[in-house]
């Protein structure tokens, strides 16, 4: 039996929406509910409607009958769109929350990493936080002492180790937080999307560290949206959708299925219930849509054509100057750009209550191909308030043209790079072995005039 590290049999998790989204209720609510619900149920019975406790609380199944096994030393990726149940699965396996049904058995010491820097306290120094965070993640004190220098070196914060972390830059903070986590040495490691932080160089360092963890024969469950990382680190990947296991197999095959199925991208996201929408009492996001040039909703766009990102939002408090903005990440988690709404109509003007739609058009021949993840946000500049920033609200695929009129030209193989702008090229034959300065300035002039 010991050739199995993790065995999951029919795990399900139910969330009662009413309870979960209210967050908490007051004693009075419970008392009134308790008083009223029998009458309500009796009323339904009289009217001949089906009844039951389940009806009173709307329930959703975050996971439904999930079963699989993982062998010791296997590195398994878990992918799926938002809300597919990936994080819930990790939370159940790390015993943060209990399953509603089912059974799971884990053989070995479990370390889980659902967030970096959990339990960091801003008033404590880097040194103190290493000990505290290490203990929270399940390290023994002796173990932390042994690895202390290594952790500090990995985080590159030697000089500031006795400074309270509230004075750290966000990069230093993340590096330190990840460094502690990266030095966990359990037999089974559960990792949620923690690599989507920090700069690209640091992300690479983290990925390398993860890779070496895998090579040491440890069992790893790795949740990520980062498809290249999944295919690189994991030999096997499980695709979850709506709480079910949809595919389970070799990573490259499952990832390809996922990317082609359209599951990975949702071009529309709507929040029908305003109370649950992202935002605050000033403004709430109602919907985000990706539109092609002709106005239809598109989850895949031609690299040569512009694509519009439409945000629909409701202003609930008048008098605020609002500035919609967008972030775009690629599937590797690299921030491609941020952009603010410059429309003079509502720029720097306090807005009355009501519904608004802002659309930003991304020009054609700018983005690289692949999945682009759209993060709509709403800011007020003075005073500086971030009303919401829904990091991965919607996504779309950028499809490159093979007709030779995009930046790739006649190159038919994978083309790296974050952007893929179509440059203005000019090639001249210079039989004398040199070109003239005049030609260069003339070329620059042409460029300037035509691109804008």
């Amino acid at each position: 039996m010991s050739d199995i590290a993790i065995r999951i049999e029919g795990i399900s998790k139910e969330y009662r929406i009413g309870r979960k989204q209210e967050g908490y209720k007051t004693l009075r609510d419970t008392l009134t509910d308790a008083l009223i619900s029998p009458f309500r149920r009796a009323g339904k019975l009289l009217r001949g409607q089906a009844t039951g406790a389940a009806e009173l609380d709307e329930a959703i199944w975050a996971l439904r009958d999930v079963s699989f096994e993982v062998k010791p030393g296997e590195v398994v990726g878990i992918i799926g769109r938002n809300g597919a149940g990936k994080s819930t699965l990790l939370k159940i396996l790390s015993r943060i929350t209990e399953p509603t049904e089912g059974y799971a058995e884990i053989r070995g010491r479990v370390g889980s990493l659902l967030e970096v820097g959990t339990g960091f306290h801003s008033e404590l120094t880097g040194r103190e936080n290493i000990y505290l965070n290490g203990a929270i993640l399940g390290m023994r004190r002796a173990e932390i002492e042994r690895k202390f220098d290594e952790i500090v070196a990995f985080a590159e914060v030697e000089k500031f180790i006795d400074t309270p972390v509230k004075h750290y830059s966000s990069g230093m903070y993340l590096r330190l937080a990840f460094a502690v986590a990266a030095h966990l040495e359990p037999e089974i490691l559960l990792v949620d999307e923690v690599l989507a932080v920090g700069d690209a160089a640091f992300q690479r360092k983290c990925l390398n560290k993860m890779e070496s963890v895998g090579q040491q024969g440890r069992t790893v469950l790795f949740v990520s949206h980062n498809m290249p990382a999944i295919t690189r680190l994991c030999e096997r990947t499980i695709l979850l959708d709506a709480g079910h296991v949809l595919h389970d197999g070799p990573s490259h095959r499952v990832v390809t299925t996922y990317l082609n199925s359209g599951l990975g991208t949702t071009a529309v996201r709507e929040w029908p219930d305003l109370r649950q929408a992202p935002g605050n009492e000033v403004v709430r996001l109602c919907a985000v849509r990706v539109r092609a040039e002709d106005g239809r909703i598109a989850d895949a766009v031609d690299i040569r054509r512009p694509v519009g990102i439409e945000m629909e939002y409701e202003v609930l408090t008048s008098g605020y100057t609002l500035c919609p903005c967008l972030t775009l990440h690629n599937e590797e988690g690299v921030l491609v750009f941020c952009a603010f709404d410059l429309d003079p109509e509502w720029r720097q003007r306090p807005r009355p209550v009501g519904r608004y739609v802002s659309t930003g058009w991304i020009p054609g021949n700018l983005l690289a191909e692949g999945t682009m993840i759209v993060g709509p946000a709403m800011r007020t500049m003075v005073p500086n308030i971030l009303h919401f920033h829904e990091l991965d609200a919607v996504a779309f695929q950028v499809i490159d043209s093979l007709e030779g009129d995009s930046a790739r030209g006649d190159w038919a193989q994978p083309l790296p790079g974050v952007m893929r702008p179509l440059l203005k090229w000019r090639t001249q034959f210079c039989p004398n072995g040199h070109s003239t300065a005049v030609v260069v300035t003339e070329g620059a002039g042409v460029n300037k005039g035509e691109v804008v």
């Binding site: 010991s2 590290a5 795990i11 969330y15 309870r19 979960k20 967050g23 908490y24 209720k25 007051t26 004693l27 009075r28 419970t30 010791p72 939370k91 159940i92 396996l93 790390s94 015993r95 943060i96 929350t97 209990e98 399953p99 509603t100 049904e101 089912g102 059974y103 799971a104 058995e105 884990i106 053989r107 070995g108 010491r109 479990v110 889980s112 659902l114 967030e115 959990t118 339990g119 306290h121 008033e123 404590l124 103190e128 000990y131 505290l132 203990a135 929270i136 993640l137 399940g138 023994r140 004190r141 037999e187």
Partner: protein, 278 residues
């Protein structure tokens, strides 16, 4: 590797009804308990001007106010001991209790982020907050020793019982704290109830007055409020008040243990919902 794999088997399945306290697991995490306590102590007076002086200011000034109003004006009896030290000897363990109670009942909510992201026995959170109050207690206690010196009162041999009485205060604070912390996750009413409860409890405990005002069967029964045992015990051990509060303390110990056991069971029962609701 094989033996390690066989020793650590985690079984995950939905729990139903009352569950075990899993004290052995709590012991496995004793280092975390130590670090959480240490963090609470370190962080408590950060960014305050007066810092740890707060630990002394609160009981001391309450004593001054009590001495003025209850001692001077109302002429409340104090078992033949100068009123200021009579009330301060009670206020020192009381402040420890009241702080422990307030901090532990909010502790889960203050640690919501931890609860949602990491697994460890949740009992460590309220226990650590109550334990961290021992430092404040020690500071206030030193002032108490100073006052005894000032009034020329020598501690009796009975002072050896003090650690036990402190544990009694701790158990009481934790017992009630566990109940309130677990309820607070679901019902935020608790947050508003605690200050009221503490105030009520303050007057239900013989701090401003002696329990000797009560006639006998009632005085012992009064020990059902465990803080009565603590407070009278402190006075007896340090100031040498005449009657030994033995029966009171025994009643108080039983009541405190009852609170702790029921609090811990209720806490464990609610624990599975914490991460989803907090």
């Amino acid at each position: 590797m094989k033996t390690a794999l066989e020793t650590h088997i985690t079984i995950i399945r939905p729990s139903r009804g009352w569950v075990s306290l899993r004290l052995h697991e709590l012991w496995e995490y004793h280092e975390l308990l130590y670090f959480l306590t240490w963090r609470d102590i370190k962080v408590r007076y950060k960014q305050t001007i007066l810092g740890a002086a707060w630990a002394i200011i609160q009981p001391f000034f309450t004593m001054v106010v009590f001495s003025l109003f209850f001692g001077r004006l109302a002429k409340v009896p104090s078992d033949g001991i100068p009123y200021p030290i009579f009330s301060y000897a009670a206020l020192v363990p009381w402040t420890f209790f009241a702080h422990g109670l307030a901090q532990s009942s909010n502790s889960l909510i203050d640690s919501a982020n931890l609860i949602r992201k990491v697994y460890f026995p949740r009992l460590t959170i309220p226990i650590a907050t109550v334990l961290s109050g021992v430092v404040d207690f020690t500071l206030a206690f030193i002032v108490l020793l100073g006052m005894m010196f000032f009034y020329g009162i020598m501690p009796t041999v009975n002072a050896l019982w003090l650690p036990l009485l402190l544990v009694l205060a701790l158990v009481t604070a934790l017992g009630v704290g566990l109940w309130l912390a677990a309820m607070n996750v679901q019902f935020r009413d608790v947050r508003y109830t605690v200050p009221f409860l503490t105030q009520f409890w303050l007057f239900a405990t013989p701090i401003a007055y002696p329990s000797s005002l009560l006639a006998e069967p009632w005085r012992t029964l009064y020990g059902i409020n465990p803080m009565v045992g603590v407070v009278e015990g402190f006075r007896w051990a340090l100031l040498g008040t005449e009657t030994a509060p033995g029966p009171i303390v025994i009643v108080s110990c039983l009541a405190a243990l009852g609170l702790l056991a029921s609090g811990a069971l209720y806490f464990r029962r609610m624990e599975k919902t914490f991460a989803d609701v907090v």
